[in-house]
Amino acid sequence: MRVTQNTTANLVLNSLQTIRRRTEELEQQAATGVKINAPGDDPVTAQQILHMKSLMAAGDQYSRNISNGISWLSMTEAAMDEMGNVLTRAKELTVQMANATSDAKARESGMNEIVQLRNQLIQLGNTQLNGRYVFGGFKNDTPPFDSTGAFNGTDDSITIEIDRGAFVPINYSGGELLRGGTPPGSTGTDIIGVFDNLITALGANDQTAVQAELPNLEDALSQVLSTRTDLGARMNRLEGQKNVIEEMKFSLTKVLSDKQDVDFMQVISDLTKQQTAFEAAIAASGKISQISLLDYLS
C-alpha cells in the first residue's frame, strides 16, 4: 500500500484523537465516580439502575410507614399494659369485696376506687399520639370515649403499606377492646359495663352481685391480653419487615455500586496509561513527519 504524507498525518491525527476521546471518557468517570453517566452509555444497565433506585426509594418510604406504625402500636401497647394493671387491681379489689368479711362501709370505699379505675380505663381509651386518639378508628380527632364510657369512635382499621401490596393495620378499636363491640358486649366482654355493674353492686352492698362479676373481670383481662398478644405479633411483623427492607437496601446498594460505580484504581491507572500513550504518539509523530526526501535534496 502506498503511504503518503497525508496518510501519515491522518494516522497521527486519528490516533491522537482516539487517545484524547478515551482520556476524556476516563476523566469524566474519575470526576463523577460513576461509569454510567447517561442512558445511552448502557441502556439496559441504565434501566436496571433506575429500577433499583426506585426500589430503594420505595424501601425508604415503607420504612417511614413502618416507623409511623411502630409508634402507633407502641403507644397502643403502653395503654393496654396500663389497662391490664387497672383490671388486675380491679380484680384484687373485687375478690376482697366479694368476701363475706367486707362490710357495707368497706364496699363503699371499694366502690369509690372502682369508679376511679373506671375513669382511668376511659382515660386510657382516650390515649393520644400526635393529637390523634389511637383507639378512635377513623374518628381519631375526637375522644372516642365520653365520661359515660360510650364509644364514639369507629371500628375501622387504619392500615399502612409496609411492602408492595402488603398492608398492616396499626390500630385497635377502643369499642371492641373496652366495650366488647357495638352494641356493647355483642362480640366480647363489655369491660366498662362490668365496672358499671360492680359500682352498682358495691353501692348496693350486694355480695352475690359483686361475686358474679369476678369471672367477667377474668374475661376482661384475657380480652385485653389477647389483643396485646395480637399487637405483639404485628409489631414483630413490622420489625421483621423493617429488617427485610434494610437488608434489601444493603444488597441493592452493593449491586448498584457494582453496576454504577467506578473502580478508581482502574480509572486512574488507565488515565496514566492514556497519558503515556498520548506523549508517545506525539513524540513519534514529531519524528515521523520530520523525515522527507526534501531533507536530502540540495
Binding site: 447517561a38 442512558p39 445511552g40 441502556p43 426506585s54 406504625g69 390523634r132 369507629t154 399502612i160 403499606e161
Partner: protein
C-alpha cells in the same frame, strides 16, 4: 537519418519531460487540496519510421495525463458519507434528548413521579394532616411541571431539527448547482478529446459532500456528465440542469416543513419528503433530520403523553370516588385536556384541587365516618405499584417511565454505534483513497529529479546535435 531528426527527438524529449515536470509540480502544490487525485504522465514512444531498413523511433510522446481514480471506492465513500451524515445528525439530537432523561446525575421526571406517590403514602399515615395535604398539592404541581418541561424541551429539539432543514436544503441546492455546472465544463473540455482531471476531482468531491446531506445514486454518461438522483429515484442533476429543492410548511404536521423538488429543467415541484426520509433511501443529514423530527422525538412525546394520561386517569378515578376532609366528593385531582396527545404539554395536566381540604383521603364522608379515614389515600398511593395495561405491555407507571429512558438510551446508542462505525469505515476508505490517489511528496520529489535528469539529457542531445552541425558546417567553410 539526419541531424535535424536528432534535434527533433531531443525536442520531443524536452517538451515531454517539461510537461511531466509540470504535472509533478501540479501534484506537489495540490498535496493538501481536498479531493485532488494524483496525476501521472504516461509516456509513449513516438511513431516509428524505417531508417535504412531498420525501424527507428522518433522520440517520446505524452500519451495521457492519467488521474489515479477508483470508481468503486468513490461509490463506497458516497454511501458511507450518507450513513455518517445520518448518524451524526441523529446522534446530536438524541444526545440532547438524553440529558432530559438523565436520572443518574440529576433528579428528573422519574423522581417527581415517585415523590408524588410518596406524598400520598405520607398522607396515608396522617390523613387529617395539613402539611401532608399541602405536600401533595406541591408534589402534584411539580410533577405536572416536569411533564411540561420535558415535553417543551423535546418540542424544541423537533423545532430546531425542522429549522436545520433550511440550511441543509440550501447546501443541497448549492451542491446540485455545482455538479451541474461542472458537468457542463467537463463536457466542453472532453468533447475536444482532453481529460478534465481537476474538474472531475472537484465534481467527485461535490458528489461525496452531497451524499452526506442526502442519499443519492449517480450514473456517468458517455459525454462525461454525471446524472444524480435520490436513491429511490427522483432526478437531481441531469447533465447541465440541477433540480431545486424547496420547503413548504405542512399544516398537518405542526407547520413543519415538507421538502419539494422541482426536477432539472422542470417547472412543478414534487413532494419528496417521504423519499428523502424513507427507510429505503440512504438517509444522510436530511433523512436523519426528518427521522428525528417525525419519528424518534415524536415517539418519546407519545410515550410521555401516555404516561401523563394514564397517571391522571388512574389518580382521578380513585380520587373522584373519595371524599375530602369537609365531605366534598366527585372531584378530579388533575384537570386534563380532551385528547391523550397533549397530556404532557402546555395545556396538559395540571392540579385541579386548590383547597387542600378537598384532597380525597377518605372513601366515605369524613364528617360522618371520621377524618382518620385513609382508605382512599392508600389506594392512590398504591397506584404507583399497580400493574397497568400500557402500550409497552403491562407495567407500572415507574416501569413505563424507565422503559422510556431505556428507549432514549437505545436510540443514542444506535446513533453512536453507527457514527463510530461509519467514522471508522470512512477513515479506512479515506486511507485507501489516499493510498491510491493521494500525493506522496517523496514520490513526486523523486519524479522531479527523474524528469529533471531526463530533461538535462535531452538538452545535452541538442548540444550534441549542434556540435555535429558545427562540424558539418565547418567542412563547408
Amino acid at each position: 537519418m539526419s541531424i535535424l531528426s536528432l534535434l527533433d527527438i531531443a525536442k520531443s524529449g524536452i517538451t515531454a519531460q517539461r510537461l511531466a515536470l509540470e504535472v509533478t509540480s501540479e501534484n506537489i502544490t495540490n498535496v493538501n487540496t481536498p479531493g485532488y487525485s494524483k496525476q501521472t504522465t504516461v509516456f509513449t514512444t513516438a511513431t516509428v519510421s524505417q531508417e535504412r531498413g531498420f525501424p527507428l523511433g522518433n522520440g517520446v510522446r505524452v500519451a495521457e495525463i492519467q488521474r489515479a481514480y477508483d470508481d468503486f471506492l468513490q461509490m463506497q465513500l458516497k454511501s458511507e458519507n450518507t450513513t455518517k451524515g445520518w448518524s451524526d445528525t441523529v446522534l446530536a439530537s438524541m444526545t440532547r434528548a438524553e440529558q432530559l432523561f438523565n436520572e443518574f446525575t440529576t433528579d428528573g421526571l422519574g423522581k417527581s413521579l415517585q415523590d408524588f406517590f410518596s406524598a400520598w403514602q405520607d398522607l396515608t399515615a396522617n390523613p387529617q394532616g395539613q402539611p401532608e395535604r399541602q405536600a401533595i398539592l406541591a408534589r402534584g404541581q411539580q410533577l405536572a411541571d416536569q411533564f411540561k418541561r420535558v415535553n417543551s424541551y423535546l418540542n424544541d429539539i423537533r423545532t430546531e431539527a425542522n429549522q436545520s432543514l433550511e440550511g441543509v436544503t440550501a447546501d443541497v441546492n448549492d451542491k446540485l448547482r455545482k455538479i451541474a455546472s461542472l458537468n457542463e465544463q467537463i463536457k466542453q473540455i472532453e468533447v475536444q478529446g482532453a481529460r478534465a482531471n481537476e474538474l472531475r476531482d472537484q465534481r467527485d468531491l461535490a458528489v461525496r459532500q452531497l451524499a452526506e446531506k442526502v442519499g443519492i445514486t449517480y450514473m456517468e454518461q458517455t459525454d462525461g456528465t454525471l446524472n444524480v438522483s435520490l436513491s429511490l429515484g427522483q432526478p437531481l442533476v441531469l447533465g447541465k440542469d440541477a433540480a431545486v429543492l424547496s420547503l413548504q410548511p405542512d399544516a398537518a404536521n405542526s407547520g413543519f416543513y415538507r421538502i419539494y423538488s422541482t426536477a432539472p429543467g422542470g417547472k412543478t415541484a414534487v413532494d419528496i419528503s417521504s423519499i428523502v426520509g424513507g427507510p429505503g433511501n440512504g438517509q444522510g443529514e436530511m433523512g436523519g433530520t426528518l427521522q428525528v423530527r417525525d419519528s424518534l422525538v415524536n415517539g418519546f412525546l407519545a410515550d410521555l403523553d401516555e404516561l401523563a394520561y394514564t397517571l391522571a386517569t388512574e389518580v382521578n378515578a380513585v380520587h373522584s370516588s373519595g371524599f375530602g376532609l369537609t365531605g366534598s366528593t366527585g372531584l378530579d385531582f388533575f384537570s386534563t385536556p380532551a385528547t391523550m396527545a397533549g397530556y404532557s404539554g402546555l395545556g396538559g395536566i395540571s392540579v385541579a384541587i386548590s383547597n387542600s381540604n378537598d384532597i380525597a383521603a377518605a372513601n366515605a364522608d369524613p364528617s360522618v365516618g371520621g377524618t382518620g379515614n385513609n382508605t382512599n389515600a392508600k389506594d392512590i398511593a398504591s397506584l404507583f405499584d399497580k400493574i397497568l395495561p400500557l402500550s409497552g405491555g403491562n407495567m407500572t407507571l415507574g416501569g413505563f417511565y424507565n422503559s422510556l429512558v431505556g428507549k432514549v438510551g437505545v436510540s443514542v446508542q444506535n446513533a453512536e454505534r453507527s457514527a463510530t462505525l461509519s467514522e471508522g469505515v470512512l477513515k479506512q476508505l479515506d486511507n485507501l483513497r489516499e493510498s491510491q490517489s493521494g500525493v506522496s511528496l517523496d514520490e513526486e520529489l523523486a519524479n522531479l529529479i527523474k524528469y529533471q535528469k531526463a530533461f538535462e539529457g535531452a538538452a545535452k542531445l541538442i548540444n550534441t546535435g549542434t556540435e555535429m552541425m558545427d562540424v558539418i558546417l565547418g567542412l563547408v567553410r
